[in-house]
Symmetry: C2
Subunit: 237 residues, 2 copies
DNA sequence: ATAAGAGCTTGAATCATATCGAGGGCTTTC
DNA sequence: GAAAGCCCTCGATATGATTCAAGCTCTTAT
């Protein structure tokens, strides 16, 4: 059972040890974190955090995928970010959540009580510096996404999303040419600021134009990475 | 001459002393910053930083307004953020800029050579903690804007923008009912993911519906804050 | 086996925003 | 005081994405 394996692990065997918020901690600091950490799991579809609720804990995604999102009163929904393994959930220094966080697959988190973690952040430069680095990376990613949401066409949005998943899927720094989509059509629509029908239509169009091959609903392969990249709209100079 | 006044100031007289990156520094730390800071001014319309260029300095906006933006090859432009007094420009730990920063009014910056500032960040918890706090605030703001860009109608976008300016314009924590727009129609369009014509049309529509009064092209007053807020689309629960 | 539901695709009609085109009111320049 | 340029407004038309509606393919339940 995977769960048990993860729960048994100490930090030195943790799969996200060198990418998460603890990446630059030394042995002593890791030991301190190890003592106060606890694991929690969430089933696919379950809320991890509700906007407006008190934030009892913060933590890192160890496995699975979650989304950061916000709902409008009339039901419109926008996803602001994808949380993949090593990404951090929650914000030290604030006691209520501002966004909803939802598990889209089964998710395992490495959690800390918020107060304890805030204390660690204040006392441990390695952690606060790593937090800053991660926050600035996320800020850059959020701003890239703003260009997509504000200015790209539906086709460019889909192509950009596919390239992003292809890039994040690969282990080294290349781009994967075959992968599973981590999201349903609906979740992609919420992430891209589109409707589910528009997402579906544009997948079909990209398939018809031989830019992607759909092996089933979720499996995608990309015969020509550069051709797909060209469809994503050129933002980097 | 305002310029000279600012240039003469030491940190203790600085208008952004208690909101900027140095907000939580003690006297000794302020003294250290004081020694390595220098002021730079940029005329309206001038670039402050180019995407792809080496970042020689980082710093805080002391006066004026700047925008963070990105251009696509075909000319489409998206503004990712407004930089108002006390906001921070640049990213320690990265040596080339990822976005363009442009002065939209005359701008005065309190600058530090990037290397010196990185050293201060590493040695001064008050600064790195404040940087983290500001980065997390910006991240929240960026995510709010993603909801606007992805899901709001043109009318809701304009109303949201007006409420944001009204809020930021006020000195205390109320909402200003009269203010000057810091941006041209074109700059607003780039910020809201719209065209200049759509911005103009929706200003006219809001005026016709008595939700705003346009005193001239730039001066706006809001007869009924709650009525305008209702047009902004309900995202906060 | 059959039914029910979730996730996806497709077509047709509609609508919001973009595009194209024109012109008005400023300010600056010579 | 004419000319040029910037910023803004508005009408007509075009178009990309949404909405509405239907049906398809799985999987799960009965």
């Amino acid at each position: 059972m995977i769960q048990a394996l993860i729960l048994d692990r100490n930090c030195s065997q943790c799969p996200i040890r060198h990418r998460a918020v603890c990446a630059t901690c030394d042995d002593e600091e890791i030991l301190a974190l190890d003592k106060i950490k606890f694991y929690r799991t969430f089933e696919a579809g379950q809320p991890i955090m509700w906007s407006g609720d008190r934030m009892e804990f913060v933590g890192s995604v160890v496995s699975g995928t979650a989304t950061i999102e916000r709902l409008m009163e009339d039901g419109r929904k926008q996803t602001m970010g994808l949380l993949l393994p090593s990404d951090f959930i929650g914000r030290p220094g604030r006691n209520t959540a501002v966004f909803d966080v939802t598990a889209v697959t089964d998710v395992t988190l490495c959690c800390f009580r918020r107060e304890s973690f805030e204390k660690m952040v204040a006392e441990t430069p390695h952690i606060s510096q790593r937090m800053l680095e991660m926050a600035l990376d996320e800020l850059d990613a959020a701003r890239d996404w703003m260009l997509l949401l504000g200015r790209k066409t539906a086709r460019e949005k889909i192509a950009t999303f596919l390239m992003m998943v292809a890039r994040r899927t690969s282990i080294d720094d290349t781009v994967a040419t075959r992968f599973e989509l981590p999201l349903t059509r609906e979740a992609m629509a919420d992430f891209l600021g589109l409707t589910i029908e528009t997402v579906s239509r544009n997948f079909s169009a990209l398939r018809k134009d031989k830019l992607i091959v759909l092996e089933d609903k979720r499996g995608v392969s990309i015969p020509d990475i550069d051709a797909l990249q060209a469809e994503a709209g050129s933002d980097a100079p």
